[in-house]
């Protein structure tokens, strides 16, 4: 009897002592700044591969570009992507994840293994992202030339983070520089702009009927409109009932439909440099969407803007990274 007991006890302790606590297994390394691929292509060279508008280019060679991160999605004005820049130019990388600024810091070196990715354009701006073509037996549904990557494994296979570095200094550009395609996507500073007293935004109701607000400001003095910002614009006297809003652009007739479909609206505030219009386009999801444009700017004071120079179907546009990019010249 004793023997059995001793044997049992021994067996028990054998089992137990093996792992009172869960055993450690080998951890796979996840050092974000490990080996980075060697750059063999400039951003300008990569962009040059795109020659026929409407035809995205799926990269089949082992091309590697590298550059520093020049944008941040912290303020929410840029969303699911960021821009990198080298000496020759800049390009937007369509990652597809939110809160990217946590992983890709301003100034950090980022390398892109382009093989397998697609170069495409959106309104004339070149972007790199995932290919949108589908296997032959699947209907292609994307209306974009290049897609967000979305899948972490896919991102990790193509986007490599290098060392942290000082943020890039903005490139000072003038009227000509605004129109120079080589500057599209670059981190730039434009000095001496004046307010253009003009906005552009399309409002929709639930049936997708659109109402254009353009050529004037309609009393909109914010950079964009969040959902709540839009609702409070639609109810200037605080009453939720059909009424004229936006300087008469919205009437008692279409008010209800627009209010019911209320959402955040991205809009353009126009600025001028010489004879060139620059649309400062801000997302309704930006944290500064409802921030009022400084009174002095509305009153005609000159303003310097720092941010990403963009372009959309013939319009010169500008994306603020945050409100630190707005500076009044007294």
């Amino acid at each position: 009897m004793k023997k059995i007991f001793v044997w049992l006890l021994a067996a028990l302790f054998m089992t137990v002592s093996c792992d009172i606590y869960p055993a450690a297994e080998e951890t796979q390394p996840s050092d974000p700044f490990a080996d980075v691929p060697e750059v063999n292509t400039t951003i300008a060279q990569l962009k040059a591969l795109y020659t026929k508008p409407g035809q995205p280019v799926v990269i089949t060679d082992d091309l590697v570009i590298g550059g520093q991160v020049i944008s941040s999605d912290e303020s929410g004005n840029i969303y699911r992507s960021f821009y990198i820049q080298d000496e020759t130019g800049a390009i937007e990388i369509k990652i597809g994840k939110s809160s990217l600024y946590n992983d890709y810091k301003l100034g950090q070196w980022v390398y892109v293994k382009c093989k397998g990715l697609a170069l495409g354009q959106y309104g004339g701006m070149l972007q790199i992202g995932y290919r949108t073509d589908q296997p032959a037996w699947i209907e292609a549904t994307s209306s974009y030339e290049t897609n967000y990557m979305d899948v972490q494994y896919l991102i990790d296979a193509h986007i490599f983070r290098g060392k942290l570095d000082k943020p890039v200094e903005p490139m000072l550009i003038g009227e000509a520089g605004i129109k120079d395609e080589a500057n599209f996507g670059r981190y730039v500073r434009i000095e001496g702009l004046t307010y253009g007293n003009q906005i552009f935004v399309i409002l929709y109701d639930k049936a997708d009927n659109s109402t254009y607000l353009s050529d004037k400001t309609y009393g909109v003095d914010t950079w964009a409109m969040s959902l709540n910002g839009f609702k409070s614009y639609m109810t200037p006297n605080g009453k939720v009932e059909p009424q004229n809003a936006f300087d008469g652009a919205v009437t008692k007739e279409n008010w209800q439909g627009l209010y019911d479909a209320a959402s955040a609206y991205t809009l353009s505030q126009y600025f001028k440099l010489g004879k060139t219009d620059l649309q400062v386009r801000t997302s309704g999801y930006a944290k500064f969407a409802d921030a009022k444009i400084y009174r002095k700017i509305l009153a005609g004071y000159k303003v310097n803007l720092t941010g990403i120079l963009t372009y959309y179907n013939g319009n010169n546009q500008f994306t603020l990274i945050d409100l630190n990019g707005v500076e009044i010249v007294d």
């Binding site: 009172i20 606590y21 809160s99 946590n102 549904t141 979305d150 500064f288």
Partner: protein, 973 residues
């Protein structure tokens, strides 16, 4: 050292014989058949036919004496904790005291271990659901003896009732949680010895400890003298929960000087073979003293707790389980410094202090009064993040199904991305399948502010539910007449529970900021509205900077006051017994917010509207025009509760007992069912009312020559229940609260249990069956709110497909038509409505071998109310179609399951010492496809291509472990 005590015989006589001149009696010594050692504390009950005659308890040396017996033939039933019940016939004649000499009992060799720690903690807090299995304890019932043990693995709920219906008393005080009413077994898990002695009733049966509800009362005396005498120890290992349990206990029994003392300590440590990340680092302690004065006054003091921590298990969708090839996959953990680290850890230390006084002046009257205080900390960690990616590995956007779905309406057509996602899961690329702690630390460390301090984006929070629970209970039994007994009691509970969260770990960062993460998106430029603590913001000009241990997010007190008075009249006449009982009470509950949230600022302390810095009012109003407020006291919800109960019983000869019970109850809803969004505001659920329950049962019991049987028919109708489920929604980045009211359900069915000898000596056959229908009978109302929005998402709308949904006719081609074929009922979920077990038990020479086969079926998935609204079935185009109704409203039924279990054990006895072991192997067939629970996500796929209809999100499931063992080696000195 505990060998010989004096020959004191403790007699708890309730002899009611009034016959004059009776001098006869019976005496003897109770000994163990194993080693002839005396058995102290054995309970002896004497019957004449089925009439109870007298009761006695054996003394330290095993001796007993029952006097004052008229001549006759008696049936003496002897029961003792560790021994099998024994019956002997005694004839008393000519007024002599009959000496039975040594009456030997056979040891009960299987030491079954059943406590709350047999259940892994399911991580349901972010889903809004709860899953508390009921534990069955009634020891002398043939059904519960087997069902309690064999059905625990499937998380069986007796008669389909939730754990909140099971009244659990400790030292005469109802211990069900004041906030949720859930059964409180986890408070003393690991104290198996201290809580081993239990007295339990089933269903509506009366109890002397309290009025009880529809699901029985279990009372654990927990006092020093109820602990088994002697020094005991055990070493236990098992493969499904934790590696090792060590336990030591000692009970002195009542010493000559009237003192008794006892202690119990234990530890449970380690992980298991089936669920990674689930581990225990738990301890338990118990100490008790008691003083007995002349068997009239007894004063006892107890202090106990089960401090420790344990990792929780999370549920996932079937897609994730299939990707992992493992239904036991747990998404809660990741590798950290080469160790498994669980993000969801329960850390508790909730001591209980008990002062109990018993007064037994005569056989006809006794009274017990208890003062009990429960306090301490109960924390549950979780990841929290601010403006950063969702860190959960099985977040739905990380799965292949997010990129490709065969149904083109989902507009998920990217096969290539789906393949990348699949590959990442199947190859566990950079720990895709686990929490990536390294990334969280890296993100935090890299997020430097302008002064170079790292602001954490990810933190581990600890949600606290810290109770201060003061209870007083008084119960009394009075037997003025032979045919009449009056039981009664008073219960009072004052509970104040602080709910808050604090920073448990900054995960490599140096500070965190107390802001409402996602309110920030809606109120981009309104700093005041995104504050979790508006008063602090106004005072300091900025949100609070948080360090480890700081409270943040929310902080409120739940107040619950309960008072009950109950009376129970027992009558008996011959073979007939009856009782009639009533209870009346007052329950009050309210919320007291300790911080002012920017979104629900309410009025200031002087009753004025609060404005932000720009002069905009922050005060907001609900649809009744009342101020929505987060700070201060809410309205007090008062409930007058009452209940009546009655039962009759008829003994047909000595073998058969037929009895029935009826009850009607008006119970108050619990605190967690009463508030729309308790974390953020004082608003009560609309049309909050008492829960009405009607219940009845009819039972027959048979007991003769080793054959035991019970059959029960039961019917219960529960009306006007309310629930509040909070679940995390990633799009809102916050908790969404779905409050439902007016939920009615019916539970009806049959319970059957038997045990009988077989022609083979020492081999018996036993079986149980629980077969019922537990279903919903109303369409409740739903109100939906979001913690970080003042908008009411769904305002008191009916859920038309809750109790049932129409099934439509198919035409000749099998296409669905508009004609309704029939209505399909919806069922109370997460328990098999059909459960059966059949087994053989073999006992010889202190060996035992048990083997049984279990069958479970008709278990259902917990439903989401959202999918069953008109809004969800209408979809984007607002048109409700038969296809949509069937797709959104039907309820999943789990596959039936067969299980085989087996156990073997042996005890050795020598000179009053005992050593033994038991080995149980469960799920011998290694069936790994048995769902024990799960829930539908309260979430819809609404961005469809056609824009016409919505789809439900995939449900999440919990599965049962495959083959697992438990080995227990124990000794007694």
């Amino acid at each position: 050292m505990f060998k010989k005590f004096t020959l004191a015989v403790s007699l708890l006589l309730m002899c009611v014989s009034l016959a004059a001149q009776v001098t006869g009696g019976v005496k003897g010594t109770i000994v163990s058949r194993a080693d002839r050692s005396p058995i102290a504390g054995a309970e002896l009950t004497l019957f004449n036919g089925t009439d109870f005659v007298a009761e006695a308890v054996s003394g330290k040396d095993g001796t007993f004496f029952v006097g004052n017996l008229p001549d006759g033939i008696y049936n003496l039933v002897i029961s003792s904790d560790e021994f099998m019940d024994t019956q002997v016939n005694v004839t008393v004649n000519d007024g002599y005291v009959k000496n039975m000499f040594n009456l030997s009992l056979s040891p009960r060799v299987s030491e079954q271990e059943l406590d709350m720690s047999n259940f892994s903690e399911f991580d349901l807090e972010d889903s809004g659901y709860s899953d508390n299995p009921t534990l069955l304890f009634a020891q002398n019932d043939v059904f519960t003896n087997m069902a309690g043990y064999n059905f625990s693995a499937i998380r069986f709920k007796t008669r389909g009732y939730g754990s909140e219906t099971q009244d659990v008393y400790l030292a005469g005080v109802r211990m069900n949680d004041a906030i949720t009413d859930y059964s409180p077994f986890s408070l003393w898990s690991g104290l198996n010895e201290a809580t081993r002695t239990k007295e339990a009733t089933i269903g509506l049966e009366p109890s002397r400890y309290g009025f009880g509800g529809i699901n029985g009362i279990t009372n654990i005396p927990g006092n020093a003298s109820s602990m088994r005498v002697g020094l005991r120890g055990s070493v236990l290992t098992n493969s499904a929960m934790y590696r090792l349990r060590l336990m030591l206990s000692y009970g002195s029994g009542v010493l000559d000087n009237g003192w008794a003392y006892a202690f119990n300590i234990s530890t449970r440590l380690g992980g298991n073979d089936w669920i990674k990340g689930v581990y225990y680092k738990s301890f338990a302690y118990y100490g008790a003293v008691e003083k007995n004065w002349h068997d009239t006054h007894r004063l006892g003091l107890v202090f106990m707790a089960s401090p420790g921590e344990r990792g929780a298990q999370n549920s996932s969708t079937q897609e994730v389980y299939d990707l992992m090839g493992d239904n036991m996959y747990n998404s809660n953990w990741g590798w950290y410094n080469g160790q498994i680290r669980n993000a969801r850890v329960r850390r508790t230390h909730e001591p209980i202090a008990i002062l109990k006084y018993d007064f037994t002046p005569s056989e006809k009257f006794n009274l017990a009064a208890t003062l009990l205080y429960r306090f301490g900390k109960n924390g549950y960690t979780a990841l929290d993040w601010y403006d950063a990616a969702d860190p959960r590995p099985d977040y739905y956007r990380n799965l292949p199904s997010y990129f490709y779905n065969e149904n083109p309406d989902f507009n998920r057509t990217d096969l290539r991305k789906a393949a990348w996602a699949r590959e990442a899961w199947e190859s566990n690329y950079v720990n895709t399948t686990h929490i990536n702690w390294d990334r969280l630390y890296t993100v935090n460390r890299m997020n430097l502010n302008e002064f170079g301090y790292a602001r954490s984006k990810y933190v581990q929070e600890e949600r606290h539910v810290d109770q201060k629970d003061l209870n007083f209970a008084l119960s009394t039994q009075w037997k003025p007449k032979r045919w009449y007994e009056l039981d009664g009691g008073i219960e009072a509970k004052l509970n104040r529970t602080e709910n808050y969260k604090k920073i448990a770990d900054l995960l490599g960062g140096e500070y965190f900021v107390d802001l409402d993460n996602f309110a920030e998106r809606d109120f981009a430029s309104n700093r005041a509205r995104v504050q979790n603590d508006l008063d602090y913001y106004f005072m300091a000009g900025a949100a609070r900077v948080l360090h480890k241990g700081d409270k943040y997010g929310y902080d409120y007190l739940a107040h619950v006051h309960k008072y009950n008075v109950w009376l129970d009249n027992h009558f008996k006449a011959g073979a007939f017994r009856a009782h009639v009982a009533g209870q009346i009470g007052n329950h009050t509950l309210w919320r007291e917010g300790l911080v002012r949230k920017g979104l629900f600022a309410g009025l200031d302390d002087k009753g004025n509207i609060i404005y932000d810095e720009e002069g905009n009012p922050l005060t907001s109003y609900d649809s009744f025009g009342e101020v929505i407020t987060s700070k201060g006291n809410s309205k007090k919800a008062h409930f007058l509760t009452w209940a009546v109960k009655s039962g009759v019983e008829l003994a047909l000869g000595s073998r058969v007992r037929v009895y029935g019970n009826l009850g009607y109850f008006h119970d108050a809803p619990t605190f967690n069912q009463s508030f729309l969004s308790p974390r953020t505001r004082n608003s009560l659920i609309p049309d909050l009312t008492t829960i009405k329950t009607f219940s009845g049962d009819i039972n027959a019991q048979y007991s003769y020559h080793g054959v035991n049987m019970r059959v029960t028919l039961f019917y219960t109708n529960i009306m006007d229940q309310s629930t509040m489920r909070s679940y995390y929604n990633d799009l809102q980045g916050s908790f969404v609260n779905a409050a439902m009211s007016n939920i009615d359900e019916v539970h009806k069915g049959v319970e059957f249990g038997f045990k009988m000898p077989t022609p083979v000596t020492n081999l018996s056959l036993q079986g149980v069956l629980s077969w019922g229908e537990y279903y919903y009978t109303s369409n409740p109302y739903m109100t939906m709110t979001v913690d970080n929005s003042s908008e009411v998402v769904v305002d008191h709308q009916i859920v038309p497909y809750w109790q049932s949904h129409p099934v439509f006719k198919r035409d000749a081609e099998g296409t669905i038509t508009n004609q309704i074929d029939h209505y399909q009922r919806h069922y109370v979920p997460s328990t098999p409505q059909l459960a059966a077990s059949l087994g053989l038990a073999y006992n010889k020479n202190y060996w035992f071998i048990d083997a049984d086969v279990d069958y479970f079926s008709h278990s259902y998935l917990e439903m989401s109310p959202l999918s069953r609204t008109d809004m969800a079935t209408a979809g984007g185009d607002g048109v409700i179609t038969p296809v949509e109704v069937e797709a959104m409203a039907s309820q999943e039924r789990f596959n039936p399951a067969f299980l085989v279990n087996c156990s073997v054990g042996k005890s050795w006895y020598r000179r009053g010492h005992q050593i033994g072991f038991s080995l149980q192997v469960k799920n011998l067939l290694n069936n790994r496809g048995v769902k024990t629970g799960g829930y539908e996500q309260t979430r819809l796929v609404d961005d469809t291509k056609s824009g016409e209809r919505y789809y439900p999100f995939d449900p999440k499931y919990f599965y049962m472990s495959g083959i697992n063992y438990m080995l227990n080696v124990y000794f007694r000195f």
